[in-house]
Each structure stands twice: as C-alpha cells, then as structure tokens.
Subunit: 287 residues, 2 copies
C-alpha cells in the first residue's frame, strides 16, 4: 500500500505541475506550487482507488484526485494564518504566510480553491453530468455546510473557551475533515454512475478514525515526524477525542472505526485490499 501511495503521490505531483504550468512563474504561482507540495496525498489515494474499483480510467480519475489535493492545500494555507490557527510550520516547512506574507496566503488559498473546481470541471475528467456532479459535491463538502462550517465551529469553540462535548467534536469533525474525505472516497463511484453507499460508509469511518489519530499524534507525536507543531491542543486546554476518551479509549475507538471501514468494503472482495490497507495505515501512521 505504501508503494501505491507513493505512486499516487508522484502522479498527483506531476499533474499539479501540469495544471499549474499555465499560471506562469510569478510570485503567486510560486506560492501556489509551494503550498501544494508534500503531504501524504491520502485524499487523492481515496479518489484513485475508488475509481480503480469501478473501472474508471486513471487518466480521468487524476482530475478529481488533483482537485481534492488543491482544495486540501487551500484549506491548510488559510487555516495556518495568524487570525486562524496561527501556525508557523506545515509539512515541515514555513507556512505560506511566514515564507511570504498574509496577503499572499489569502490569495494562494483563494486561487487553489478555484483551481480545484477548474480540475473537476476539466473536459478530460468525464462527461458533463459527471463533472457537474463532482463539482456540486465538492462545493457542498468544502463550503459553509461542510469544511468551512467545521472550521467556524472550531474557532467559535476556542473563542468561547467552553470545551466541546464528544458529540459536538464529532459533528465538528464531520464537517471540517469528514465531508471532503467522503467526497474523495465516492468520487470514483460517482464517475462510474455506481452506488456510492459502501464507499460512503468506508470513508465516513476512515475520516473519523483519521481525526482521532490526529488527536493522538498531537499527544504522542513529535514535530520532526509530523511536520507541524504538536501538543497544541492540550496547551490550549482544547477538548479532543483524547481528552474525552483518554489515550487508550481513543485508540480503541479508532481501531473499531477501522474495522467498520474494512467491513464496508466486503462487496469489493480482494479488489478492496488497497483501501483496507489504507484504513489500517491511517491509525498506524506517525505523521
């Protein structure tokens, strides 16, 4: 699986180069490239594997795979800004607003969001119906009822200073990271006109496990391996899956979710092995 993940990462990096080429070599284009470099490319992997499971050609699937990584990169750039999470380090390097400035960070994020929609709408991504449906799903998952809503709830909770309940954290994460992970998981089924229900269940469980694992890494990880600041949640007195469930409880919850995710793939037989491996990787990773 690690090998396949590395392949997908290389394919997405090459395709990002390709779609960013027309943007030229100005400061904005440079910062856009910088922001999209690195990362595990788990979301792209979900798209590519989901597409493979449904017989969608790789040269079509690369478009939504690249789109979701551009969109993810945009969310990180804005999330790292001083008025948001105020982070100096991302993927082991200075954040965009540290390396450039805040105006560049705003614009890079904005342009990467547009780029994501440019990618899903590209004629090479499939029929008009497919591209329009991908676009609609991406817009909903990214926007004020999905990711951005999750971020707003996150900031509101921090400002209020009242720790969130476990249910509230689960709702928040369903928006903040879950919606786009589900979109990634089902993109291939959408492209093939197949039933997205099994991959929805899979991605929902993997997405939540991923977030629990992130909270665990914030406690157990080190900045060198994760490439970002750690221990921030506890220092801020923030409620997390770990603060609610304890370290052991959080690990066992994540593990149960991975079992759920793997079971959801039964219908795919051994064709689903790479996605099963990904599910296991999500809670075993150190970054």
């Amino acid at each position: 699986m690690q090998e396949r993940l590395a392949e997908v990462a290389a394919g997405v990096a090459a395709h990002l180069d390709h779609v960013l080429a027309p943007f030229g070599t100005g400061e904005l284009a440079q910062a856009m490239r910088y922001a999209t470099e690195g990362g595990k490319r788990l979301r792209a992997y979900l798209v590519i594997e989901g597409a493979r499971l449904h017989g969608v050609p790789a040269e079509q699937a690369i478009w939504p795979a690249t789109a979701i990584e551009a969109l993810h990169a945009y969310s990180l750039v804005h999330d790292d800004m001083p008025c948001m999470d105020d982070d100096d380090l991302r993927r082991g390097r200075p954040t965009v607003h540290r390396k450039w400035d805040e105006a560049t960070a705003v614009l890079v994020g904005d342009a990467l969001q547009s780029l994501a929609f440019e990618c899903v709408a590209d004629p090479r991504a499939g029929s008009g119906e497919v591209r329009a449906e991908l676009c609609l799903g991406l817009a909903r998952a990214a926007g004020g009822q999905g990711m951005v809503l999750g971020q707003a709830l996150d900031i509101a909770a921090e400002t209020a200073g009242t720790p969130l309940s476990l249910d509230e954290i689960t709702t928040l994460q369903a928006g903040k990271t879950g919606a786009l992970i589900i979109w990634s998981g089902i993109a291939g089924a959408v492209m093939a006109g197949a039933d997205p229900a099994p991959l929805t269940r899979y991605a929902q469980a993997v997405g939540l496990a991923f977030q629990i694992a992130d909270d665990i890494l914030d406690v157990e990880g080190c900045a060198e391996e994760t490439g970002k600041a750690v221990g921030k949640d506890a220092a801020a007195g923030k409620a997390t899956f770990v603060s609610h469930l304890g370290l052991a409880g959080a690990k066992s919850r994540a593990s149960a979710l991975i079992d759920e995710a793997i079971a959801a793939l039964d219908i795919y037989g051994e064709d689903g092995d790479d996605l099963r491996a990904l599910a296991r990787f999500v809670i075993a990773r150190s970054s």
Copy 2:
C-alpha cells in the same frame, strides 16, 4: 433599465436567501448573508440579460446570476481585509472583518466561493455539459490566471511602489475585474450553446469602462454615494487610468469603450437595448 436592474437585484437577493437557507442561522451563515447584501448586481444583470437574449429560461439563468454575485461578494470580503486593501467601509456598512473579525472574513469569503460553484453546478441550472462549462469558465476567470492574479499584481505594484504603466494597469484590470465580467456576459450564450463572441466583445469593453469609471469615481465621487472610501488612489500615489490619461482623457476613453460595447450588440437588434442601457449606465453612475 434602472427598473430592470432593480428587478434583477430583487430576484438575486431572494435567490441568495433561498440558497443560503440550508446554511442555518449560525454566526458564519449570518456573516455570509451580510456579505452578499446590497451591491448594484451588475454582473447578475449581465447574466440574466445575456440569457434572455438567447432564450434561456429565467429560472435557469438565476443560478449563474446568483453564483457570480456570491463570487463577487467573496472577492470583496477578502479584498477588504487588513492584509489586503484594509477597508473599513463597503456598500456603506462596516466590512465583514470590522463587524466580526478577520477569521470570520477569511471563512466567509471561502464559503462564498464554494457557494458560487454550488450554484453553477446545481441541477436546475441546465444540462451537465452546460453546468460543467459554466463551472470551468468561472474557475478560470476567478483563479490565479484571472481575478486572483489581478489582485496579486495589484498588491505587488503597491508593495514595489513603482507606478504601473497604462498597459500594465489594463492587463491587471483584465484579470482583476474583466475576466468575471466577461464570464457574466457570455454565460447566457454558453447556456444556449450559442456563439459567445459578440457578448465577449461587449463585456470586455464594458468591463474596462467600468474600471475607468471606478477610477474617476475615486477622484470625483463622495463616500456617501459610493458607499466606500474615496480618494484612496491619489493619497497612495497609485497609478490609475486617471493619473495616466487625466480626468478628461479617462472620460473620453470610457465613452469610446461604451460605443464599442454598444456596437458589439448590433447582431441582437433592439433586443439588446437593455444591455446598451447598461453600458451607458456604467459610466454615468455615481456609486
């Protein structure tokens, strides 16, 4: 024309209410609504009129018309932020980051951009092909080769402190405001599968005239009427169409562009009268 513009503005406001209803009544949704209120709705008007000229039903055209106003609102919210233009006043009211805070301004802009793509991709906007093409065009016009590139060039020029040449200003404005005005102008033709060339010429000329008129208003207008700060360009020693051409020269250039725009509508006969009136309005307006 003013009456038709008021009708369109009311229609777009109602449709924005409709598409924002599922976002609920939280702080984010409130700020999204606030950011989309007011404005002249010139871009929506271009969409609606272009659609009418090509026999596209109004209930389809309202989707891209609402999309462009959501996208325009996003660009204003981010543009007004302290790290960008640092404006306190917009459409006669406090800017989003003044009424709320910077984090809210980032998130509201982000969510409104997503909302724009949600609107063009809505199944009620037309066939899959049409929606995908609208989405692709909007993404290109908005992104790092369109509006955001124009904004980045604008900021870079301000930082460098070297006044731009007339050609450079024209290029900058073609990205910053021109690309989305052209998208608005041709959306109806795209929806009908008609030749977008005449409306491209029209919108290109109107877009540039609009920007020249904006520069003139910054010199001649008053904050009460324009609803934003005036005299900023001269105070900042910024190169504008007025600083290059003089007030009379800028007015005569804008006027020539309007003649060009009106001539581009010949093919539509008197059906194009409302768009002709809009072109004249663009340089006659006081806000």
